[in-house]
């Protein structure tokens, strides 16, 4: 692993228009409503590392993944891949080149494979669309090689997705993502729809592939235990903002942001050490009308006047960054 960034996000933000239809707005005098799904997020993903993003539902982590692979265009900010600006997914002759190098694995193995396609066509689609191989025999050979690589057999290519279990389907998704020999994989909750024993198979497979192929992962999950198992560095998101970013070890040993502490406290205690869970009061506020200042302040035990008024920026201290006035003022 080097310190060289493969992916760089600078103040990336994305709004969604969730207004009522035009006619309703006119008749009901309702204003246009914007949902800020991602709000000025900046971080680097270094070559060869696994950076994980964690957060509860609605924190913007999946939107961020889709911004990076170009499924959405950012409303603000800049996304660079290996030095090339890819913020506008529509422009640039290099986009095919970039797309080849960056792929995505989705959450739901039942929805991410076209049910009417044979597995070999699903896996071969990126090869054909990106124009990597032309000859049919070469493509067949490559598909067979990919299926073997993810722990399936070349014969499985003849089958349809419904003939496979959830874990096997996720293997097919991974084979497809690898078909263009990418360097960077965005994994959006790749195991959260799977059973524990199958999740272990997929996580082990992903770490083997990373070692073999030198892949860089952006791993998105709501499960802190999974994240602690796969990640080198971890970013914690809350209501569209990155609130803490640290090395995995540091984050678990010495969490800074009060929200990170809360998340860690809420993890079920499998060791049965008798540790009392501290149930956190309150719930995530409505993202349509986020609280002013630090969006976490209504649930935060350390909030003061400044937290209620002023949005804390992400501040770096060595290898760790956090967006919290209390941390910055050394109050906690």
């Amino acid at each position: 692993m080097t310190n060289e960034p493969l992916l760089r996000l600078e103040d990336v933000g994305r709004d969604f228009d969730v207004s009522r239809p035009w006619l309703n707005r006119v008749l009901e005098h309702a204003p246009r409503q914007l949902l800020q799904a991602v709000d000025s997020v900046s971080f680097d993903v270094r070559k060869g590392e696994t950076l994980a993003l964690v957060g509860e539902s609605g924190c913007g982590k999946s939107t961020l993944a889709r911004l990076i692979v170009g499924l959405y265009a950012p409303s603000r900010g800049r996304i660079e891949f290996d030095g090339v600006d890819i913020s506008d997914p529509a422009t640039g002759a290099q986009t095919t080149q970039i797309r080849r190098r960056m792929q995505m694995i989705f959450q739901d193995p039942y929805a991410s494979l076209n049910p009417r396609w044979r597995v070999r066509d699903i896996v071969a689609e990126p090869i054909l669309v990106l124009g990597l191989l032309k000859n049919k025999d070469q493509i067949d050979g490559r598909v067979a090689e990919l299926l073997t690589q993810v722990g399936l057999t070349p014969d499985d290519g003849q089958k349809y997705p419904h003939e496979f279990s959830g874990g096997q389907r996720q293997r097919i998704s991974i084979a497809r993502a690898l078909s263009g020999s990418p360097e960077f994989l965005v994994c959006d909750e790749p195991t959260s729809a799977l059973d524990v024993s199958v999740q272990a198979q997929i996580l082990n497979l992903m770490s083997d592939l990373q070692a073999q192929l030198g892949l860089t992962y952006l791993f998105i999950s709501h499960n802190l235990a999974v994240v602690s198992h796969v990640a080198d560095r971890i970013g914690v998101m809350y209501l569209g903002r990155l609130v803490e970013l640290a090395n995995a070890k540091d984050l678990f040993a010495n969490p800074r942001h009060p929200y990170t502490r809360m998340l860690l406290d809420a993890v079920p205690d499998l060791e049965m050490s008798g540790r009392q869970r501290t149930p956190v009061a309150g719930e995530v506020p409505n993202p349509l009308s986020p609280p002013p200042g630090c969006t976490f302040h209504p649930r935060c035990p350390h909030a003061n006047e400044r937290c209620r008024a002023e949005k804390p920026p992400l501040v770096w201290r060595g290898e760790t960054a956090s967006a919290c006035h209390a941390v910055e003022e050394n109050r906690i």
Partner: protein
């Protein structure tokens, strides 16, 4: 797929275990067979004007004392053999019904797919047109299209183009149902991750629409289509009954019923009753097949 696999298939099983469906399929088969093979099976060619014998007009069915053995179901006012005319007429009814449904499907699936996939203004425009059309009865739409076609086209050609015009008017009147269904399932499929996965590798939107969304969004269309064949046949019969359908020289079932209607009160009931029975049998059995297909393919009912 070999025969044994086909026999054991769920669809085949649900077919085998429903006597009503088997009966409906047999009836449909008989109707369609008689219609398709009319030139070979029918005792006479009712369209051959030279062979018509006005002296033989109004002959009652064979089993009635005045009936003749040569005309099993009797003859109509032109002296045409009724059995033959019904067989030839069913041909026209089936062709018009099938073609009209195919046309509705083509229009509806295309517009629904475009509407659902692109959304925004195109979607709003197509769906508002659909709403407006839905506020008129389909028969009115068909009459309107028919009327416009007759005004636009020279009157000398009316009889030759009667069937295409009929197909066009019934087809245009029926697209909305397909469009709405396909738009709905397109919206669902569009949000699924396999479509996003295709977008990530930069596939062209048209390719995604055709290769990914279309095959997954058209499941219900087949079922609606089967059920609508019956409706289209009825619409054709209604239009012909009203006199805007196929000309009396080449009568469809609807035309025959209309012709017979004029003589119903004067005692020549068979001219209208036998085509009527043929129409009801055809429509009912096609409808039953459609119902079965809908239930068999609906995973919720399985």
């Amino acid at each position: 797929m070999n025969l044994r696999a086909l026999w054991g298939h769920d669809l085949a099983y649900s077919f085998r275990s429903s006597p009503v469906t088997i009966a409906a399929a047999l009836l449909t088969l008989i109707c369609v067979g008689a219609a398709l093979l009319a030139p070979w099976l029918a005792p006479y060619n009712p369209f051959d004007a030279a062979a018509l014998d006005l002296n033989a007009a109004f002959a009652p069915p064979a089993w009635i004392p005045q009936g003749t053995a040569g005309h099993l179901l009797g003859t109509d006012d032109q002296g045409r053999d009724l059995l033959s005319t019904i067989m030839y007429g069913a041909r026209i009814s089936l062709v018009v019904g099938l073609a009209a449904v195919l046309l509705s499907m083509l229009l509806g699936v295309t517009l629904g797919l475009v509407s659902g996939y692109f959304g925004g203004r195109i979607d709003a425009l197509i769906m508002r047109i659909a709403d407006v059309q839905l506020s008129f009865p389909p028969i009115l739409i068909a009459l309107l299209v028919d009327g416009v076609a007759r005004v636009v086209l020279p009157s000398s050609t009316h009889d030759e183009i009667a069937i295409p015009v009929l197909i066009l008017s019934i087809g245009v009147a029926g697209w909305v149902q397909y469009a709405r269904t396909v738009r709905g399932s397109t919206l669902v499929e569009k949000g699924k991750e396999y479509v996003q996965a295709a977008r990530v590798i930069g596939r062209h939107p048209l390719a995604i629409m055709l290769h990914h969304v279309l095959p997954n969004a058209t499941g219900p269309v087949l079922v609606i289509g089967t059920i609508n064949i019956a409706t289209a046949i009825i619409t054709e019969a209604t239009l012909s009954f009203l006199g805007v359908g196929v000309p009396p020289t080449r009568p469809s079932l609807g035309t025959l019923i209309r012709i017979g209607n004029e003589f119903l009160l004067s005692g020549e009931w068979w001219i209208t009753v036998f085509p009527g029975i043929a129409l009801v049998t055809l429509v009912l059995s096609v409808n039953l097949l459609g119902d079965w297909l809908r239930d068999a393919l609906n995973p919720k009912l399985r």
